[in-house]
Symmetry: C2
Subunit: 358 residues, 2 copies
């Protein structure tokens, strides 16, 4: 069997620490299942800015494109916060998503029984939450043109962006969402602002058209303001949510915080073909970087998503997921999920414990 190549993008802040731990776990789980990987590590974000002057060097994108899957740590930090747009670490990430054409971003938000008390929501509200946000990732207001700065007809200075979706962009994310819902509890909620925005009316129209191909999936629609409320009121009502880039950014972060343990949450970004991009949803946490305090589980679970969604290696993926649960069951916790009676460990030790259970 040909050796597949994994591109590692440690990035900034705690990125390198969590990537190094996750790589070991990925490697062990894969090799037990008879899969062998080659790894290449390339810079992105602030790390790339410092090394090369740009947040996504051409070599990095090329390496990523030519590999079988990409595992990213985190990007960004105070240091580059005031950079101009094309020199922001975030711009590197957006260009990477665009370059890899990974239009479908899957963001699970699951409350594990072991961590239900980490949620700020009452136990009975948080317990059993298990939802998936399918966020459109390469369109909408993030990429729409025209955009920029200028003056309006009265000579007033303005800043502007364009929210725009073409039929094919909605159709393809809709299909990913319906397929995802089908493999889950068969319920899909499409979130938009169709009572105000034409882009949302068009979104809803296309979602309804694609729904005809999935009569077995129960489709509903919700306005984004209501969705932001319902996630707080009763997150268990949701199975799969599909929404545009900006609403998905907001709602997936809200949903993740509802679990109370964003240090635990992975994500997958997938295209039609080509390598997927897998990353924890947490940020680069510059305040704890280099202190061996970061929770590596989100990146380890991103490696599991890489195996499952990126390479179709379900067994190796399950091995990692089971090892994470096992490690939690044994009581090991990093600082962000620590509670009285559990064992506080650092990033590396958490990784070693997971390795033991793989």
């Amino acid at each position: 069997s040909k050796r597949q190549t994994i591109t590692l993008l440690p990035g900034d802040g705690i990125g390198p620490e969590v990537i190094s731990v996750a790589r070991n776990v990925l490697n062990l789980a894969a090799s037990i299942e008879g899969i062998e990987f080659k790894y290449q590590e390339v810079p992105v974000g602030g790390a790339a800015l410092d090394l090369t002057g740009v947040p996504l060097p051409e070599e990095t994108l090329l390496a990523a494109k030519q590999s079988d899957a990409v595992l990213l740590g985190a990007i960004g930090g105070y240091k580059w916060d005031k950079n101009e747009k094309h020199l922001k670490p975030e711009t590197g990430l957006l260009k990477l998503r665009e370059g890899l054409k990974v239009f479908a971003n899957l963001r699970p938000a699951t409350v594990l029984p072991q961590l239900v008390d980490a949620s700020t929501l009452k136990r009975e509200v948080a317990e059993g939450v298990d939802l998936m946000v399918v966020r459109e990732l390469t369109g909408g207001i993030y990429f729409g043109k025209p955009r920029g700065f200028g003056t309006n007809e009265n000579g007033e200075e303005i800043g502007f962006n364009t929210e725009v979706y073409a039929a094919y962009e909605i159709d393809r994310i809709a299909r990913v969402a319906f397929e995802t819902a089908r493999k889950r509890k068969g319920k899909l909620c499409s979130v938009d602002k169709a009572n105000v925005l034409e882009a949302s009316m068009f979104w809803r129209k296309r979602i309804m058209a694609i729904a005809l191909e999935y009569p077995d999936v129960e489709l509903s629609h919700m306005y984004v303001d209501n969705a932001a409320m319902q996630l707080v009121r009763d997150p268990k009502q949701f199975d799969t949510i599909v929404t545009n880039n900006i609403f998905g950014d907001i709602l997936s972060d809200e949903a993740s915080m509802i679990t109370g343990s964003i240090g635990m949450l992975p994500s997958a970004s997938l295209g039609e073909s080509g390598p997927g991009l897998f990353e924890p949803i947490h940020g680069s946490a510059p305040d704890i970087a280099g202190q061996d305090k970061a929770n590596p589980l989100a990146t380890i679970l991103s490696a599991a998503m890489l195996l499952k969604y990126g390479l179709g290696e379900e067994n190796a993926a399950k091995r990692i997921e089971a090892a994470v649960l096992d490690t939690l069951n044994k009581g090991f916790r990093t600082g962000d999920i620590y509670s009285a009676g559990t064992k506080l460990v650092g990033c590396k030790e958490m990784g070693e414990e997971v390795l033991k259970s793989v």
Copy 2:
């Protein structure tokens, strides 16, 4: 003293019930303070559609403009959900906001000690939450042009909207926000997506420019996805939030649900001059309309905001606020905020109880 005119817009669903109760409370509180009002009731939203074929008849806008303050119930309902955009009840509301030029939307989210258990958040997280969202209401993607449907350069069907802010629009909402923060705890958090959107970069730049006029207010900036998380993680960190129209729509609804009692929350929409628009933040709740089950307190508290922010009648406003607290302290609750050991009442009876305490 000249008699001021209040325009009442009952609207749809539970709107007429809550307006009728709130009017009585408003009237009593005002008259005790020696203020006399004239009232005019005109249709808006679905009610106007059914009567006149449009969601905001010219007569309604004119009446509102010529009055001293406008009290709105709620608009919308399943019946009109599939209407084309210009025939949606929501469009009536947007045109009303535009016509009255009420660019500043103040949305308090307060957890009252009497109702802390209504929140889905843990007691220690919800207790003491007292924040104000200042939402820009007549600009941004809600009103930006170009907007509509069309085809792109590849002949693909598209739907699109424009997020655009001019300097003067940001400057004036910034001033309202800084003034508001100054009267509260002196902390203002501006929410944007300046790591991605030019409209947000421009927003941040103008906010920072206006901040120079308010050295006594502590300004911070937060990305919208992070704000959606922080509202769940620790809502007490916020005092005053200022943000654009669409982010304000989402975050103010999220914040309101965090209180657990959206049936309690009022809002004020203010312009440079001219009458303000005051309305509960809850919707028209068609499922309970006409059953005397609605919670009138949000509308009653909106009447208090009308007195305070619309007419500068602080004493009458305080009278209403105190009466509401008094009524809650006596244990009266509508169904939405009912808990064991309290007294369940309908919309009308709740109104009568508040009247007794005014």
